[in-house]
């Protein structure tokens, strides 16, 4: 198989990539005991490397199955291979398929000529690696999930205390406390949490809290065949992610960067416990470019409200006094 120089990994490198980095492999062992011992407390999360996602949706299926979420009906959306649509009360993992012209940023694959035309080969030839040759098309894929924000809008606005921060620093909705007020739904800057109409409560990814309590890694990460989804301690994940970005840059994939990896790179959320490696602008993946926990700005609104409330009192006092001379 011929490859675009500097972009495709050598076979040695791909073996390494397949398993994630050394660190990721260590995690596999550490988080896969399943002996019924809870994982030690401390910030855990996901590093999702979109460059190795193959769009198999194993994560979606594993999530749905493990959490016994209801189905969404069998629907054809017409938006590429994405028949899931978005995250919601019964969809806690969602794989986005972004169709675009040009080559895939890391594989260099861009030839779809075997899809169509008279000269289409009878078998899919090894995805012509030459971006100039015939095709002008590739996919970006991203497995989206609740970001378990360090400053989480949903948690900060929940009036019942149903949404809590767990010992793993994940954001968890207690279904027995939620009264379905719906405050969290528009407060999430990523459009993650939703209230199911028939159920009346808000639902979203729990970062497989139940599995972590049993010493297991989350179902999606467990199922991901390419380690696009890596689960682990946040500090380790950051190291893995930075190593991966450096590797990609070395190989000429200059567009790679981390989205939401820490407070410095995303002040509005103070960092995401589920962060991403992207190769295009966030909007392309339906991620906000500069999200902010809405409670960061609520002080300004309160100040304005207090002045306005005082003005109400002044206006009423003025009206009452102004009428003192009115004839009875």
């Amino acid at each position: 198989m011929s490859v675009s120089p500097g972009i495709m990994p050598t076979s040695d490198e791909s073996a390494e990539l397949r398993a994630g980095s050394e660190l990721a492999r260590d995690h596999r062992g550490e988080f896969d005991r399943g002996h019924g011992h809870a994982l030690p407390a401390g910030a855990k999360g996901f590093f999702t490397d979109t460059t190795v996602c193959i769009g198999c949706k194993a994560c979606e299926v594993a999530c749905k199955q493990w959490n016994q979420l209801p189905d969404d009906g069998f629907v054809f959306t017409g938006t590429s291979y994405d028949n899931t649509g978005d995250l919601g009360s019964s969809t806690w993992r969602h794989v986005a398929f972004i169709e675009r012209p040009g080559a895939h940023p890391t594989t260099g694959f861009a030839d779809m000529s075997w899809f169509e035309g008279d000269d289409a080969p009878s078998a899919p030839v090894a995805f012509g690696p030459d971006p100039q040759g015939g095709g002008d098309f590739s996919w970006l894929m991203l497995s989206d999930v609740c970001k378990h924000c360090v400053h989480a809008g949903c948690l900060d606005v929940c009036p019942t205390g149903a949404i809590i921060r767990t010992e793993y620093e994940s954001v968890y909705i207690q279904p027995d406390v939620c009264n379905g007020c719906g405050m969290c739904v528009p407060a999430c800057p990523f459009g993650v949490v939703d209230r199911r109409e028939e159920d009346g409560r808000a639902w979203k990814c729990t970062l497989c809290y139940d599995r972590q309590r049993d010493g297991l890694e989350p179902a999606c990460a467990k199922a991901c065949p390419t380690d696009s989804i890596v689960f682990g301690d946040i500090d380790d994940l950051r190291a893995i992610a930075e190593e991966r970005v450096a590797t990609l840059h070395e190989r000429g994939v200059d567009s790679a960067y981390l989205y939401g990896a820490d407070a410095a790179s995303q002040p509005g959320t103070q960092g995401l416990n589920a962060f991403f490696l992207l190769t295009d602008a966030p909007e392309v993946y339906n991620l906000p470019p500069d999200p902010v926990d809405p409670t960061h700005a609520v002080g300004a609104a309160w100040r304005s409200a207090l002045v306005a409330g005082a003005a109400m009192v002044v206006a009423v006092a003025g009206a009452v006094l102004s009428a003192a001379g009115a004839r009875r």
């Binding site: 959490n67 016994q68 209801p70 189905d71 969404d72 009906g73 959306t77 017409g78 938006t79 994405d82 649509g85 978005d86 806690w92 972004i98 675009r100 009036p159 019942t160 406390v177 939620c178 009264n179 007020c181 405050m183 999430c188 990523f190 459009g191 159920d199 009346g200 639902w203 809290y209 139940d210 840059h249 790679a256 960067y257 989205y259 939401g260 790179s265 002040p267 509005g268 909007e283 392309v284 906000p288 500069d290 999200p291 902010v292 809405p294 409670t295 960061h296 609104a301 304005s304 207090l306 306005a308 409330g309 109400m312 206006a315 006092a317 009206a319 009452v320 009428a323 004839r327 009875r328």
Partner: protein, 370 residues
């Protein structure tokens, strides 16, 4: 409950114990089309070529608020409750004897309004039986929590201020009236804070003008409600008319401020110009302006009542339409992913709040870098 069927699990053979197993579903549940789903379904690069830049198949970025009609209705009723409690308390301080009838009417409006408010809020809950969970914690960062506590404290006070004098406990009633009046300014304005306590682009953009607009709208609604009582003496009429005039001017000015703040990013302000929300917004402005004009027209004494009622009806309509307009315009702005994208690229996301934008490209490139 058809949980097992929707999960394709035979409950005789498998335990339904997953984190999502308790999620109740309807019969033949089909979630699609996604709420607020765009209809255009353009390929991302094609969509980028259209107006406003890239999206993911025009799909919304945010979840639309799931609140129903009872929420904007509560904005209105809560506004009357708040305004009436203030009128009652201020009138009581100025002239307890001479304004007795106005005080009584205000207190009944406030007490009744607080009761209706509570019902409207409970109607909107997904699990109404659990409404008391609202008072399980106090969370200052949640405007809804602050508001729930305020209403919970104020409703009994407002009710007591109306009922107690009728059963002879006049002094206690007066104390309750003052208590309700003290909490009322918070009740009348926190709803605007609650809206801006979300990621909805329109409500975020108007976070400082909306509380002013809501306060003015509440005062218009209160003056109008008091004007609707059939008999008033000249002093009462002067009070409500003056209050209404000041409030209507404030309402129109603050409404302009809301529109101005929203329009600072064109895409964000759009729902105030187009669609049903735009029509409601125009209706609000027109009705309030008409109400103000009517109350300014000099008329002979025998036309006074007609003028008062007409201006009150128009004022009520204006206040109601304004609340529904802001509510639906916000909902509409969540269906447009480009509203959020444009707002954040224009430096009004975290950049405008925390001083620094998020990283959106290699080499530490930030969202606000050109």
């Amino acid at each position: 409950m058809s949980g097992s069927q929707d999960r394709h699990v035979d409950p005789e053979r498998a335990l339904l114990s997953g984190e999502g197993a308790g999620q109740r579903t309807g019969e033949g549940d089909h979630r699609f089309p996604v709420r607020g789903h765009g209809t255009e379904h353009r390929r991302p690069d094609e969509a980028a070529a259209g107006d406003g830049g890239t999206t993911y198949y025009d799909q919304p970025l945010l979840k639309e608020p799931i609140w129903i009609w009872s929420v904007p209705a509560y904005f209105y009723v809560g506004g009357v409750t708040s305004g009436a409690a203030i009128v009652g308390a201020v009138a009581q301080l100025v002239d307890r004897q001479g304004l007795d009838r106005l005080i009584r009417r205000s207190r009944w409006l406030a007490g009744g309004g607080a009761a209706v408010s509570t019902v409207l809020l409970i109607i909107d809950l997904g699990r109404p039986a659990r409404f008391l969970n609202m008072l399980r914690v106090f969370r200052p960062s949640s405007a809804m929590s602050v508001g729930s506590w305020t209403l919970a404290a104020m409703a009994p006070a407002a009710g007591a201020s109306a009922v107690l004098p009728a059963v002879g406990a006049r002094r206690l009633g007066d104390a309750a009236g003052l208590g309700a009046g003290a909490l009322a300014p918070v009740l009348g304005t926190y709803t605007a804070v609650l809206l801006s306590d979300t990621a909805v682009p329109l409500w975020q953009a108007t976070r400082t003008s909306l509380p002013r607009f809501f306060a003015a709208s509440a005062t218009v609604a209160t003056a109008s409600a008091l004007e609707l009582f059939p008999t008033v003496d000249a002093r009462e009429e002067a009070i409500t008319r003056h209050l209404g005039m000041v409030a209507k001017v404030a309402d129109l000015v603050c409404g302009e401020q809301v529109q101005h703040q929203a329009d600072e990013v064109a895409r964000v302000g759009r729902p105030l110009h187009e669609g049903a929300s735009g029509a409601l917004w125009r209706t609000a402005k027109l009705s309030t302006a008409a109400s103000l004009a009517v109350s300014l027209v000099p008329v002979p004494a025998r036309w006074r009542a007609a003028r008062r009622i007409l201006s009150a009806v128009l004022g009520t309509l204006g206040s109601l339409a304004g609340r529904f307009a802001v509510f639906h315009a916000g909902k509409r702005s969540t269906r447009d992913p480009r509203a959020s994208f444009a707002q954040q690229r224009a430096g009004r996301g975290a950049a405008g709040v925390d001083g620094r934008a998020g990283v959106t490209g290699p080499g530490g490139q930030r969202a606000t870098d050109a």
